[in-house]
C-alpha cells in the first residue's frame, strides 16, 4: 500500500554525482565528521515519526559554526538539499531526510558557552540537550523554562526549529518567549547574529520568525536563552473526576478565578490505565478523567493556592484529591504523565496528534474524537495540556498491519481538521514537518500560504533547506514561481 505522504522525486543528477559530492564534502571536514557508509547512514533515515524513512546521500557531523557554513556553502553551490538535525526526536518528521540530501547533524555542537546569572541568560551551542541547560545553570539557582517531554534527549536546535512548548508553558511560555538570540548559518554559508539580550532590536523581528521555522530559514548553531530563577518550591495535586466534561469545567473555572497554575495536565480513562500499569504512580483506578495541576512558591503560598484550586474542583464533582506531601510523592504523580508516550508504546504502536483547540470546545472535541476513532475501529488515549488546549490524542494501532496504519493516519487527519474547524490549529508544539504538510490548506488559504512561502524564499531562494516539509507539494513544485510572486 502506498504511503499517505509523498516525498518529492529525488534529483537524479544529484544522485548520479554522489561520489563527486562526497569527495567535495570530505575536503571541508575532518574524516570523522562525514558519514557515507550505508549502514551508518541508516541511523539518520528517520526520526520519531518512524513510519516514514529515506536514506540520505551523506551525513555531516560538524563541530563548529564554520564547518556548518562550509557544508552549506558547498551544498548551495551544487544545488544539494540540506536536512538540519538535532537529536532526531521530531514526532512530525521534521528531521526525516531525503535521498538527494545531505544531513547536517548538530550532535557534536553541545557545549555550554557562557552562563551570566547577573543578566539572566545562557549562551549555548545548538546541539546541547534541553535538560543540559537547566543542569548547567541549576547550581546557581536558575533553570531554562520550556520543558518538552523529550527534554532529556531533544536539542535546543530542534526546540528552536519547532518552537517547542512543554507542560509548564502555561506560565512560562514557549521557546519563542525564552529565546534572546541566535547565531545562524544562512543557506549560502553566511553567518549571522540575530537577536539581542533583551530581545528588542528595533528592526523586524527576525528572531521571532526564525523560531518555529522548521529548519527552512537557516541552521542555528548557537542560542542565547533566558534563564529564570527557580521557584522556592513546586507541588502537584492530582484530581480525578467521573467525566471528562467535569474536569474540563474545573479547568475553565480555575482560570476564570484568576489562577494561572504553572501546569494543568489532563489524562482520560485510557491514558490513566496505560500510565498506571507502567509507572505505578497511584492513579485512581476507574476514573473517567484526571488532572495534574502544579503550583509554585513558598510552602504557605502553595498551600493557599492549592486550597483555592481544590475548592473550585469540589464545585465540579471532583472524586479524589491527592496532594503530594513529599518530593517522592510529587515525582510519582508526574512520573505517570511524563512517561505517557513510553508507556503507550509498550502496549501498542501509536501516532501522536498535536492539535490545539479553544478550551471551551473541549467536551465537543473529545466526544468527536471518540466517534472518529470508533469509526476507524481503533483505540485512543488522550493526554494533553489542559490550560492551553493543546491536545495529544495517541491513536493506538498495529503498525505491521498496513491497512490499520492507514486507518490511524486517516483518523489522525480527521482529528486535526476537527481542531481547525472549532477555531484551533493543526499543531501546538510539535511542528508541521512532513506529517501535517498536506493538511496546511485546511488551516490556511492559498494566499496565506503564498505569503509564508514568499518569506521563506527570502532566506532560501532555491528551497534547499528541509525542502519536503511544511508547505504542500502542489503549491511549490516550482519554488522559483513563489520567488517571482514575491
Amino acid at each position: 500500500m502506498d504511503q499517505l505522504i509523498a516525498f518529492p522525486e529525488p534529483d537524479r543528477a544529484i544522485l548520479a554525482q554522489r561520489d563527486a559530492l562526497i569527495a567535495g564534502l570530505a575536503k571541508l571536514l575532518p574524516a570523522d565528521a562525514l558519514v557515507t557508509e550505508e549502514d551508518e547512514r541508516r541511523v539518520y533515515e528517520t526520526d520519531a515519526f518512524t513510519a516514514y524513512r529515506q536514506l540520505p546521500l551523506a551525513v555531516t557531523l560538524p563541530r563548529t559554526t564554520e564547518e556548518v557554513a562550509a557544508v552549506l556553502r558547498f551544498c548551495s553551490r551544487h544545488g544539494v538539499p540540506v536536512i538540519p538535525r538535532g537529536a532526531g526526536t521530531s514526532l512530525a518528521g521534521g528531521a526525516i531526510p531525503q535521498q538527494d540530501a545531505v544531513v547536517v547533524s548538530l550532535a557534536r555542537m553541545n557545549r555550554i558557552l557562557e552562563i551570566d546569572t547577573a543578566n539572566r541568560f545562557a549562551r549555548v551551542e545548538a546541539g546541547v540537550t534541553n535538560i543540559a541547560i537547566s543542569n548547567a545553570v541549576g547550581p546557581d539557582g536558575f533553570f531554562y523554562a520550556p520543558d518538552p517531554s523529550s527534554q532529556l534527549a531533544c536539542t535546543i536546535a530542534g526546540n528552536i526549529a519547532m518552537n517547542s512548548g512543554g507542560a509548564h508553558c502555561l506560565k512560562y511560555g514557549v521557546t519563542a518567549d525564552n529565546l534572546l538570540g541566535v547565531r545562524i548559518v544562512l543557506v549560502d554559508g553566511t553567518i549571522a547574529e540575530i537577536g539581542d539580550p533583551v530581545g528588542d532590536t528595533g528592526g523586524y523581528d527576525l528572531l521571532g520568525l526564525i523560531c518555529g521555522s522548521e529548519g527552512q530559514l537557516g541552521i542555528v548553531t548557537e542560542a542565547t536563552v533566558r534563564i529564570l530563577p527557580k521557584p522556592e518550591g513546586a507541588r502537584p495535586v492530582l484530581l480525578s473526576f467521573d467525566k471528562s466534561e467535569e474536569a474540563g469545567a474545573a479547568v475553565a473555572a480555575i482560570i476564570g478565578a484568576g489562577i494561572i497554575p504553572v501546569a494543568m495536565e489532563f489524562m482520560d480513562a485510557q491514558a490513566i490505565e496505560i500510565c498506571e500499569a507502567f509507572a505505578k504512580a497511584g492513579y485512581p483506578a476507574g476514573a473517567g478523567a484526571m488532572l495534574i495541576i502544579e503550583v509554585e512558591g513558598s510552602d504557605a503560598e502553595m498551600d493557599a493556592e492549592l486550597k483555592r484550586i481544590v475548592d473550585i474542583a469540589n464545585k465540579h464533582n471532583v472524586r479524589i484529591v491527592k496532594e503530594s506531601s513529599s518530593a517522592m510523592e510529587a515525582a510519582a504523580i508526574w512520573k505517570g504523565r511524563k512517561s505517557a508516550f513510553g508507556a503507550t508504546g509498550r502496549i501498542a504502536d501509536y501516532i501522536c496528534m498535536d492539535g490545539t483547540i479553544p478550551t471551551g470546545r473541549l467536551p465537543h472535541v473529545l466526544g468527536r474524537i471518540d466517534e472518529i476513532i470508533a469509526e476507524h475501529g481503533l483505540r485512543v488515549a488522550n493526554v494533553f495540556h489542559a490550560g492551553d488546549g493543546n491536545l495529544h490524542p495517541l491513536i493506538l494501532h498495529n503498525a505491521n498491519d498496513p491497512a490499520e496504519f492507514r486507518h490511524a493516519e486517516e483518523a489522525g487527519n480527521e482529528i486535526l481538521k476537527l481542531c481547525v474547524e472549532v477555531g484551533g490549529c493543526l499543531t501546538g508544539e510539535h511542528g508541521v514537518g512532513l506529517e501535517k504538510r498536506d493538511l496546511m490548506t485546511h488551516q490556511f488559504t492559498e494566499a496565506d500560504l503564498r505569503q509564508q512561502m514568499a518569506v521563506r524564499t527570502v532566506f532560501d531562494p532555491d528551497w534547499l533547506l528541509n525542502p519536503a516539509k511544511v508547505f504542500p507539494l502542489e503549491l511549490r513544485n516550482q519554488p522559483e514561481a513563489a520567488a517571482r510572486v514575491a
Binding site: 547577573a118 543578566n119 539557582g141 519547532m162 508553558c169 511560555g173 519563542a176 544562512l186 549571522a192 539581542d196 539580550p197 533583551v198 530581545g199 528588542d200 528595533g202 528592526g203 523586524y204 523581528d205 521571532g208 520568525l209 523560531c211 518555529g212 521555522s213 530563577p229 521557584p231 475553565a252 476564570g256 484568576g258 489562577i259 494561572i260 512558591g297 504557605a300 493557599a304 493556592e305 490545539t356 479553544p358 478550551t359 471551551g360 488546549g389 484551533g424 490549529c425 499543531t427 501546538g428 508544539e429 510539535h430 511542528g431 508541521v432 501535517k436 488551516q443 488559504t445 494566499a447 496565506d448 505569503q451 509564508q452 514568499a454 518569506v455 521563506r456 524564499t457 532566506f459 514575491a486
Partner: protein, 400 residues
C-alpha cells in the same frame, strides 16, 4: 511637509484590500494610522494618502476562561482594557501610551500597539506585546487578505508572521484584526522601594531581585538626575494578597545589603509605574531628544554616563532591570545620535531615537543601523510583503 494627504477610512477588510490593490496599481504610497497618537515614531514620510483604521473597530470576541480577546485593529486600547476589566483581566504587557511623550491627541488603538510593539515595565515578567500576540489578520501590499497565528495559546503551524508584523511600524501590511492572550488582573500590587542608590548599585539590586524566586513584575531605577529629588529604585510585586505579603518580606531581606526598603501601593505606586511606562519623567523639556536604548543590564550604568557626558544637559532612568535606558538629551544638533551610536559601537545594545524634530529623524538613523546581512534580509522581507512599497515608505529605514 505640504498639505495633509487625504485620509481613507475603509469600513471592512474587503474595502481595505480594494484600496490597497488600487494604490499598488497606481503606484501610490499610503501612510497608515490607528488613533494617530504615535506619528512621531520612526522617520518622517511623504505619502499620497493615509489609510486609517478608524472605522475598523470593536471587540470581536472575549473568552475570559480561555484568556483571549480579539478586536478590530482600530479599537481604542481603552475600550479593550474596559472590556477586560469587567472580567478581572488585563493586557498584561502594559502597552506604553505615547501621548505624554509626543503631546499628541487622540486615542491609542490596539492595532497601533501591535505596529510598534508597545510594551511596558511588566515585560520583565510576562514579555512584550509580541509575546502576547496570538494572531493577526492584515492586508499585504498586494491587496491580499492574510491571516497568521490564531486564537489559541499554542500554535506552531507554519511560519509565524505575527512576529515580523509586530513592531514593523505598518511597513509590511495593514492590520485589520488582532488576537491577544490576556491575564488575570492581580488581586494586589505593591512596590518595594530603595532610596539614594547610585545607578550601578541600583542595577545590581534590581538584578538580585530579578534573580530571586519572587517574580517581580517591574524593576526600574530613577536616578536623582531624572527630575526627582532622591534616587528611587523600584521593584513591583503582584499576585494574591497573602503571596504578595510573603514576597515583600522575603524581598526586603534579599535587598537588605542595599539598605532598608519602603513599601508603597495604591494610586501613588500605580502613577509611578505609569510614568515609567510612558517615559513621562523625561517628557517635560519639550525640546529634548528622547532615546530608548536596549542593553545588557550590567553595562547600563556605564553606558548611560558615557553617552550623557558628551552633553551639558542629559537625564535618564532605567526600566526592565537596567535592560532599557530612557535618555533625554538637550541641545544637540543631531539629537545626540553620533554619541549614542559611538557608545554602542563597543558594547552590545540597540538604540531607537524616539523623539526628535522631523528634520533630525530624516537625517540620522532612527533605528539601530543594521549589518549588511540583516539589512538584506530586512529588504527581502519588505519586498515579500509589500513588493511595490505601498506602505509607509521610508518609515523605518530610508531605502525600504
Amino acid at each position: 511637509m505640504s498639505e495633509a494627504p487625504r485620509t481613507l477610512t475603509p469600513a471592512s477588510e474587503e474595502e481595505v484590500a480594494a484600496v490597497v490593490s488600487e494604490a499598488a496599481a497606481a503606484g501610490h504610497r499610503l501612510g497608515v494610522e490607528g488613533g494617530g497618537t504615535r506619528h512621531g515614531l520612526g522617520r518622517p514620510i511623504e505619502t499620497d494618502a493615509t489609510l486609517s483604521a478608524s472605522r475598523l473597530t470593536g471587540v470581536v470576541f472575549h473568552e475570559p476562561a480561555e484568556l483571549v480577546i480579539a478586536a478590530k485593529a482600530g479599537t481604542p486600547v481603552r475600550e479593550i482594557e474596559a472590556a477586560l476589566a469587567e472580567h478581572g483581566q488585563m493586557l498584561a504587557f502594559e502597552p506604553m501610551d505615547h501621548r505624554t511623550l509626543f503631546g499628541s491627541d487622540g486615542e491609542p488603538t490596539i492595532g497601533g500597539v501591535v505596529a510598534v510593539n508597545a510594551s511596558g515595565p511588566r515585560r520583565v515578567k510576562v514579555g512584550a506585546a509580541r509575546d502576547a500576540l496570538l494572531g493577526v489578520r492584515f492586508v499585504n501590499g498586494k491587496g491580499e487578505i492574510i491571516k497568521s497565528g490564531g486564537r489559541v495559546m499554542k500554535n506552531v503551524t507554519g511560519l509565524d508572521l505575527t512576529k515580523p508584523l509586530c513592531g514593523s511600524h505598518g511597513t509590511l501590511g495593514f492590520l485589520t484584526e488582532v488576537v491577544f492572550k490576556v491575564l488575570p488582573r492581580p488581586e494586589r500590587s505593591l512596590t518595594v522601594m530603595l532610596g539614594g542608590l547610585t545607578d550601578a548599585d541600583a542595577i545590581a539590586a534590581l538584578s538580585s531581585a530579578l534573580g530571586s524566586p519572587f517574580e517581580p513584575s517591574g524593576a526600574a531605577h530613577i536616578p536623582a538626575n531624572a527630575r526627582v529629588t532622591e534616587a528611587r529604585t523600584l521593584v513591583r510585586l503582584e499576585g494574591f494578597s497573602d503571596s504578595v505579603d510573603h514576597r515583600r518580606a522575603a524581598l526586603a531581606e534579599t535587598l537588605a545589603r542595599w539598605g532598608a526598603t519602603q513599601t508603597i501601593e495604591g494610586n501613588e505606586a500605580d502613577g509611578l509605574w505609569r510614568s515609567v511606562r510612558d517615559a513621562a519623567l523625561l517628557s517635560e523639556a519639550r525640546n529634548a531628544a528622547i532615546w530608548r536604548i536596549a542593553c545588557i543590564p550590567s553595562k547600563a550604568a556605564d553606558l548611560a554616563v558615557e553617552i550623557a557626558s558628551a552633553f551639558e544637559v542629559a537625564h535618564w532612568f532605567f526600566d526592565l532591570g537596567g535592560a532599557l535606558i530612557w535618555l533625554a538629551i538637550e541641545g544637540a544638533d543631531d539629537a545626540g545620535a553620533a554619541a549614542v551610536r559611538q557608545a554602542l559601537a563597543h558594547t552590545s545594545g540597540h538604540a531607537t531615537l524616539v523623539r526628535a524634530p522631523d528634520a533630525i529623524r530624516q537625517s540620522v538613523p532612527v533605528f539601530q543601523p543594521q549589518n549588511e546581512t540583516v539589512a538584506a534580509l530586512t529588504r527581502g522581507l519588505k519586498q515579500s510583503f509589500d513588493p511595490s512599497c505601498v506602505f509607509q515608505p521610508g518609515r523605518m529605514y530610508a531605502d525600504i
